[in-house]
Subunit: 707 residues, 2 copies
């Protein structure tokens, strides 16, 4: 809803808005700037308002291709007037309006109202208007130049200008005398053309508001493809007027109307994001078959499939009626989704019926299709004809890559780089997803370092061009409206940088430093990734008093999708309001322990600050346990986590003892070490679907003080 406010900000404001003349006193002279992507830079503040040395931070995410800092800064003591001398349309002026509003918010400025006059401080110059439908080949580059007297964005297209606006917002910095945008020159262009986020709305429905706020987040970190996974065994989420039973029978009433989808497409376009819809076939198709059993290969579902995982249901590829249906359906969808790509899924279709249904077997024999793969290839080639006739390109998961598949198909690799590169060698375009599965609950740093196209790969230059980019995947088994944001963000911002920035931008420490302010920016756009944990804890404890519980939860994170599915039988009706759902993957505590313990162990007898900080943190954690235990006693929904409270007491005691040995320069007795290792082994076992964030560091500590 926050977005609605921003989106509707009157255009007229822009035309009449203006900047107050910047007082010379308030201009900041940056004296000691170092170029590049890292580090805090010391700058001196001059003039009457100068009060202190200040730190200038490069908070940009993703990092631009080229950047050079100038001297001085543009002071933001009122909102600036904007001129758009080149190509311009409502989309661009809306984007400028939203950007100005966000700068006002970051800098705590009065909102620009109509009737303000003044000097133009921002010029946005676009060479030529964008095509009505955003193409994968649209030039997204831009240049941004900020001086103490104004800022100018130059871009070949609106899309580049919009990226430049996002950069401008991220440049806003506090100084002792107010907010500024530092003098800087940026030339920026993305490394990959396809920078996507897939959200699975099939297994759990995500309301339009969730989609929209995630589109805002995507735009902020320059992602440009929203891959909308709209159908699954567990739900058909897209309304068809031709085949209304698809949602009437297969959605529990939880689906997007055609108007909803059009609104999402428009919302995305306004933010420079393409929408690629996915309609899974021939597998993951129970919801189609529940509504239209005549499409099935033999086995029909009799109700919405609540179970996750690969099902036996498959669309029958042998009947012409199947293709008539798909033709009509995709033609209808093409009136809603203008993008040049359609995703047909295609993964995980074991289709046991294809091995037993005599009619299908006869068909395979007649068409010389020797196995399931060959039959799926036949299916794909017929669907491809339909999609081609709709003037679109077909996209699918790894499994669509079968011998004889025409080259005009994009393969999305969930199997890994090897599969992606194999496709490229065969001449297929590809998008990498395997290392970007968010439900693995891995740290941002791990995703960050996975490169879709490392320079070390053995692809030829021609083959390298076939790697379009990457896509983050948010699968829907264990997420819903309350928790999905914290699974997507902020980690996706780090991956977005991987897709945009040069390959050699891979300093994990610096990434995490910049991820922190980016996460706040994402929250201010309406995303709930930072607030949802506390909300979940309050609900679980049924009280607003969660200081201790919050501290306890801060060192726990959810286990991976695979571990959870292994431990707990989950299906679509499993409640997702447990402790594991409240806590976040890769919380700040993980990184804090990692850095602090690493520094400490590198020089255990040196500066005591880290030892003191670590001891204090352990004390804080152990002190939180008694109140947490009380709340667990009072709330059956928290009870399962009590084992982790007991273990936290063990861990903090272990840590304090290790620090004591460290401080004294002593080695621990072997018996102590043995006991700690047994304790750690026990604590490492999955319990309550959550894991501690600092176990490796505890092992390192124990190891260091042991012989």
């Amino acid at each position: 809803m926050h977005d609605e406010l921003l989106a509707k900000t009157s255009l007229r404001r822009m035309n009449q808005a203006a900047a107050k003349q910047i007082s010379q006193d308030e201009v900041i002279i940056l004296t000691a700037l170092r170029l590049g992507m890292t580090a805090a830079l010391a700058v001196a503040i001059c003039g009457a308002e100068a009060r202190a040395q200040m730190q200038f931070q490069n908070n940009l995410m993703p990092q631009p291709t080229e950047m050079s800092l100038g001297s001085g800064a543009l002071a933001l003591d009122s909102t600036f007037a904007v001129a758009v001398p080149g190509a311009s349309d409502a989309r661009l002026t809306d984007a400028i309006s939203r950007a100005v509003r966000r700068i006002e918010m970051v800098a705590g400025l009065r909102h620009a109202g109509r009737g303000v006059t003044g000097t133009t401080r921002l010029i946005v110059k676009v060479d030529h208007p964008s095509a009505p439908v955003q193409s994968i080949d649209e030039d997204e580059s831009y240049s941004l130049r900020v001086t103490s007297s104004g800022a100018e964005i130059d871009a070949p297209t609106e899309l580049g200008a919009m990226h430049g606006l996002e950069t401008l917002i991220q440049l806003v910095q506090p100084t002792a005398s107010g907010y500024v945008i530092p003098a800087i020159t940026i030339h920026d262009t993305p490394r990959f053309r396809w920078r996507g986020l897939m959200i699975d709305c099939g297994r759990h429905f995500e309301p339009v508001a969730v989609i929209e706020r995630n589109l805002d987040g995507m735009a902020a970190v320059k992602l440009n493809v929203f891959h909308w996974h709209l159908t699954e065994d567990q739900g058909f989420r897209m309304q068809s007027r031709i085949y209304p039973k698809l949602t009437a029978m297969g959605s529990d009433g939880l689906f997007y109307t055609q108007q909803d989808a059009k609104d999402v497409v428009a919302y995305a376009r306004a933010r420079g994001i393409r929408v690629v819809p996915e309609f899974e076939m021939p597998g993951h198709s129970a919801a189609w078959l529940l509504a239209y059993p005549e499409l099935a290969s033999g086995t029909n579902p009799i109700e919405i499939r609540r179970e996750f995982g690969v099902s036996a249901f498959a669309i029958d590829p042998t009947r012409d009626a199947t293709y008539v249906f798909i033709d009509h359906f995709l033609a209808e969808m093409s009136t809603i989704f203008p993008d040049a790509y359609v995703h047909i899924g295609g993964d995980e279709a074991p289709a046991p019926d294809w091995k037993t249904n005599p009619r299908i077997l006869a068909f395979m024999k007649a068409h010389d299709l020797k196995d399931n793969d060959a039959l799926q290839a036949y299916f794909n080639s017929r669907v491809l004809k339909i999609i081609t006739r709709l003037h679109k390109h077909m996209m699918g998961w790894d499994e669509i890559l079968t011998p004889g598949l025409p080259k005009d198909v994009v393969v999305q690799s969930w199997r890994g780089e090897a599969s992606l590169f194999e496709g490229a060698k065969l001449g297929y375009e590809g998008v990498l997803s395997a290392p970007y599965y968010l439900d693995g609950m891995r740290p941002a740093g791990v995703h960050y370092l996975a490169d879709p196209l490392p320079s070390s790969s053995d692809l030829t230059p021609e083959q390298r061009k076939l790697i379009l980019g990457g896509e983050v995947c948010m699968w829907g088994e264990h997420v819903y409206v309350r928790t999905i944001d914290s699974r997507i963000w902020p980690r996706t911002a780090a991956i977005a940088e991987r897709f945009w920035s040069p390959e050699n931008v891979r300093d994990v420490n610096d990434m995490y430093r910049r991820l922190a302010p980016t996460s706040i920016e994402l929250e201010s756009l309406g995303l709930t990734h930072l607030g949802s944990e506390d909300a979940g804890l309050r609900e679980l404890a049924a009280t607003e008093n969660i200081d201790a519980l919050r501290t306890f939860a801060s060192v726990l994170e959810p286990v991976s999708f695979g571990e959870r599915a292994h431990i707990q039988h989950t299906d679509q009706l499993t409640p997702l309001e447990s402790f594991v759902d409240a806590v976040r993957p890769d919380p700040p505590s993980r990184r804090w322990f990692e850095l602090t313990v690493k520094r400490l162990l590198a020089d255990p007898r040196g500066d005591t600050a880290d030892r003191i900080a670590l001891a204090a943190r352990l004390t804080q954690l152990s002190e939180a346990v008694p109140a947490t235990r009380q709340q667990m006693l009072a709330s059956p929904r928290l009870e399962e986590v009590s084992v982790r409270a007991d273990q936290l007491m063990q861990l903090t005691a272990m840590g304090q003892e290790a620090l004591q040995y460290l401080a004294n320069g002593q080695k621990a007795p072997a018996a102590w070490t043995q006991k700690q290792i047994e304790t750690l082994d026990e604590i490492e076992k999955p319990r309550a679907l959550v894991r501690f964030t600092f176990l490796p560091e505890m092992r390192d500590l124990v190891k260091t003080v042991s012989d």
Copy 2:
């Protein structure tokens, strides 16, 4: 959006849902129940699962008219099947479906899916269907009976049944062996027919999502009128197709489409809430006049009025064209808003033009209208004719009550009880609002004790019937999407109890005890009143690390609307993302200090627990200051609050010293006392638009240890 999920839960689930047989072991025998509305009740848990004594809490808000606890409880170990043997329609089954989903969430249960079979555990019996448009006279009573084998709600209408469902949800309790609904019999009926919340969407626009989540909150505490203040000098928020310029010129593009409004009306009806739209006339009408200057009395606005407060603009009451316009407009609005009442505002119309415009003066003379009041009365009587012809009742603020006004008008009193009762004595129906202005930032307990119709009033029984009820008012000068929830909730829940429960339910302590879990319930409905403070602090500090800042902010609350407007010039473009906007009115710290210091001073040398707790809290606060100061240095947006950080150090030192005197049984020297009082006087001055929540208690402490 959360709501969307709930709302769309399939009806089919209800028909097939079922309860697992409750194991005798899991049934809880309540042994020591005390009737009435207060207190924690000790109950023994029997059976194999019994583990501990547990506390049973009466968390109901509002309190029911009659309630008697039975023995045993309905165990919630799976979701129950629901039977609806009486009158039923989609609204009721939807409401049941949402209620079941909420019970599942509170109790951490698996969601009811289709295909579940079992015993019916909830019967909802309604005598007759509701009218298509909810009437003020609809019977809202219900009976609820819960035993260990099931629950039954009986009500004359759906509306009562829906209230019963809300009560049922609030009855869910944790026990050592899981969640239960205690055996209980409730007969409940509201004290007042009109229990409203007004939201001003004119001064700042509130997106539909804000309205909808607030409607959810209203339904949870049994409010039944949403008074939608749709027009103001600063914005015309309701789309008219006949007069499109109203929003085209007067809304900054921030308005409700007719479809939006219809959606809100439907959303409200689904929750048993009437929607009374307000279109302000003849004053507060700059937005009308900007679009249609021909309606003006002389002075015309030339742009959207950003300034708040009473304006000089007024609709011209002397021209027939005015009434043609209003007639057409209200007729159009009546196709969107089916409610029997229309609010025409009518307040604060000084209309200086009426004293100077020769044409208007001539008209007044010709019609024997001796002053502005008489002219407004003339205006009202003509508008009343229009509204009557639309088969609706007219409602307006105090000022519409002028001699000669027909009796078929409801007066909403913002001036106070005296004005309300005066109206009743003249034969007018009335709704009290004066004591329920949320922007006064007063504690819930103050609002709570203000009774719309105290038994001590001198009204006759006939006159008493004219007091329809009360309305909470959320004026929009200083709230917007991010902050409005924390201004409305949870305080409005306490006022809702005033409107619903018997007059003698007025134990402030018990109200606050029940308000705490109610606040959590409201958050789980999607309201942001608990999470928005942290989100605001994170944005202000530009970091996720707000532990210290949160502690600091916990003892500060916003000054009242009046104080803020006095100190700071605010208008529609003033940013509302400052520290004052982040902190909440009546935060828990206020109540905590009040109770703790009261107990301590009642017996200063007795139990030391309160003294220890108070000292610990003061220590926690003072320890939070250094890190808070650091963040203030780094964020210009926080800088203005640094004076309060300094003062918090003074306050905590003062408190610790006073506690020391108290512990030692000593009196403080006069000089010390003098200094503390001066300090307190200084701290009491408005600074940074926030005030400390515990100054009265500090004064009491100082006073107690002084001679």
